[in-house]
Symmetry: C2
Subunit: 426 residues, 2 copies
């Protein structure tokens, strides 16, 4: 039996009962003969409460101090979890990110891991301990200050430790049973995916699936660490994210398109730059202005220009929270570029279909658009990649659109026409 890294999110350790339940699960893994390293998030709403306190004392909390504050959350949950395990008769020690050797750059609030030196964890394991590690935090290589890793930071901590300790698997425990073919709150008939390739999971994650963030999947892919996404409430197997489908016979690769799932996202807004002169360099100037303002953008769409005017429109989507910054940045370069006007729209939604073999199966795109049309959903933007088609619609249309597409591709749980889901053989 090898080394297992388990990660438990805030909803799994929301109260004393949750901590005790998680402790029993950890002890089960230890009893089964594994070396166990556990990464834990802050309890339930702790982080939100700390953020609220920070807002009460300071309108614009400084990054260094904000990180010092937030890391108190995991400190509480990890110490309690270690106590709970010890009261079950097993040895456990808790470690901060810094003690666990999670070395980061110095970008407070969204630091990136640059090295993991888990010497103290290795020693603790060798001495027979279960090691409990604070998720979401590290220590800056240069300033020695405490840092936090930003969104999805605890998952990333778990995968990074799994890679550094050469773990067999990184188990991500959450409050859902795994990765689904669509958000089960929107699509009642959504099915759990048993296995999915890193690439498909990356596209699902960046298209709005909240179960795993792309950052953590990217890290796992680079170090080839299998991720097992599963529920801390049930004992059921969840979703394996890896290179190779463990359930697939060798040589079982298939040519047909294999749809992984339908993701949606209503957290974005759409900006349209109207009346851009259709000549080389104009798009570059627009997106340089956006980049200089440090705004992250998602989809970018430019259509052919109208022959009569020589003008074109460029649209892009971005998180609503970045909207004002983008509008300001573009306003400053209006003269230089000479566009006509800006339109901002935050009542949009994005629906994405993810799966292997799409590009070589034109029928997939057709079926996708037909399903939307039959549901009376108007398409505003389209963007495709090798394994994904995304469209932008009205936000109000999103639930209906997701259900229609999910059903059209035979993903509904009682459907007979199910394509072999959740696998591409890659």
């Amino acid at each position: 039996m090898g080394l297992v890294v388990q990660k438990y999110g805030g909803s799994s350790v929301a109260d004393a009962d949750g901590i005790k339940r998680v402790a029993r699960r950890i002890v089960d893994a230890k009893k089964a003969g594994h070396e166990v390293v556990v990464v834990v998030s802050a309890m339930g709403d702790t982080t939100d409460e700390l953020i609220e306190l920070a807002e009460q004392v300071s309108p614009l909390p400084a990054g260094r101090e904000f990180d010092m504050l937030l890391t108190a959350g995991e400190r509480i949950s990890m110490a309690l979890l270690a106590m709970a395990i010890k009261s079950l008769g097993h040895e456990a020690q808790s470690f901060t990110g810094s003690q666990a050797g999670v070395i980061t750059d110095s970008v407070h609030n969204k630091a990136r891991i640059i090295d993991v030196t888990p010497g103290r964890i290795r020693t603790a394991l060798d001495e027979g301990n279960i090691a409990i590690v604070a998720g979401f935090q590290g220590v800056s290589q240069t300033s020695k200050d405490i840092t936090t890793l930003g969104r999805g930071g605890s998952d990333t901590t778990a995968v990074a430790l799994a890679a550094a300790l050469k773990a067999e698997v990184c188990e991500i425990y959450t409050d859902v049973d795994g990765v689904f073919t669509a958000d089960p709150r929107v699509v009642k008939k959504a099915r759990k995916i048993d296995w999915i390739a890193y690439e498909d999971m990356l596209e699902l994650a960046s298209s709005g699936s909240k179960v795993l963030l792309d950052r953590c999947v990217e890290y796992a892919r680079r170090y080839n660490i299998p991720i097992h996404v599963r529920s801390s409430f049930s004992g059921l197997p969840g979703t394996i994210v890896s290179n190779d489908n463990p359930n697939e016979p060798e040589g079982g690769e298939m040519e047909q398109a294999i749809i992984s799932g339908v993701a949606h996202d209503t957290s974005e807004a759409k900006v349209t730059v109207v009346g851009v002169p259709d000549k080389p360099g104009e798009a570059a100037r627009i997106f340089r202005a956006i980049a200089d303002a440090e705004v992250n953008i998602d989809m970018v769409v430019q259509n052919v220009s109208a022959a009569s005017t020589g003008l074109t429109d460029i649209s892009f989507t971005l998180p609503k929270t970045e909207g004002q910054k983008a509008i300001d940045a573009l306003g400053r370069v209006k003269e230089g570029i000479g566009y006509e006007s800006l339109r901002y729209d935050d009542a949009i939604g994005k629906i994405s279909l993810v799966g292997a073999g799409m590009r070589s199966n034109p029928g997939v795109t057709a079926t996708f658009f037909e399903a939307l049309s039959a549901a009376g959903v108007n398409i505003e933007l389209i963007s495709t990649s090798e394994i994904r088609i995304s469209v932008v619609t009205r936000a109000d249309d999103v639930p209906e659109a997701v259900r229609a597409v999910h059903s059209a591709f035979g993903l509904d749980s009682e459907s007979d026409e199910a394509v072999v889901y959740g696998g591409t053989g890659r």
Copy 2:
């Protein structure tokens, strides 16, 4: 202007408003030209809430993990305080005990400071920052694990940093105006003491005055760091604890007894070992048994034995929380010692009069006992030191006894017969 260490307790930073008020006070000290190091406790009831959580997950939380848990409290308050200062336009950085160089032994939950290496604090000050340090915590020299200092730990952190940084003064901010001649909740006419010598403060602290703990005063005395106990709610000067009375003219030492105050304590119990053979070595065996059980005791009283029996009684007081341990330990040695029985009584109280020159002024002891007698208070035990007289009475009698003694020594605030209070010239 020199370096000032300020310490703020949990009641001063109980909520966002408290933190902002404290931040303004800190900035005032900085503006006045001081280098400022701030030691802060956990907010309000945070520590109690964390202890309750620990009890919910584990009947007997492990020391190492308990310390990891509790230190989250100061992490929150120090980060918020640094943010609040920065939002006032001043530079501040927060530091954990470990980052601040507070090195301790490895005794979890009540570690002792063995070294302070405040290199990072010195650097932060040199760069113009206000340094905010977590009280109550350190890092073990041998195991590198996080430790906590136990009761009074934050005050001790402040004094230890003041010593290591050669501070001008260590200001201990609290929710009262300073050290009083008696507990103002019991004696309405209690007066604030302007200055008190280390030794008198030590006796007051060990006799039940809760404002400062003896541990922190002992540290300050060893390194000759003046302590200024004052309110974080008012701007008033509080009580200076130091070697030399700053308000006293040179050569102004006096021979008369100078009473510092009256302390009381109802947290102790009394154990009487009845019928001990009055021969050498019996007391030693009793207190060796107590020491082996790691029970801290306070007063010890043995009277002459009754000539008729050759037996004597030995009484001692100890914290009520240690009572059971002491009884168990003495029960185990009953045969060996051959005493008759044990009596345990936790309905007692202790009243202590503290001041210089007592022993050479027999009138002091007489006045003390007369005051108790006039108030109808029966004395059960008596114990004296160079600068203190303590008696044990019924717990119910304590408030009346304290008021009677306070008044008898002219300490009442409107009294005309006031002795020069609060100073011994030492």
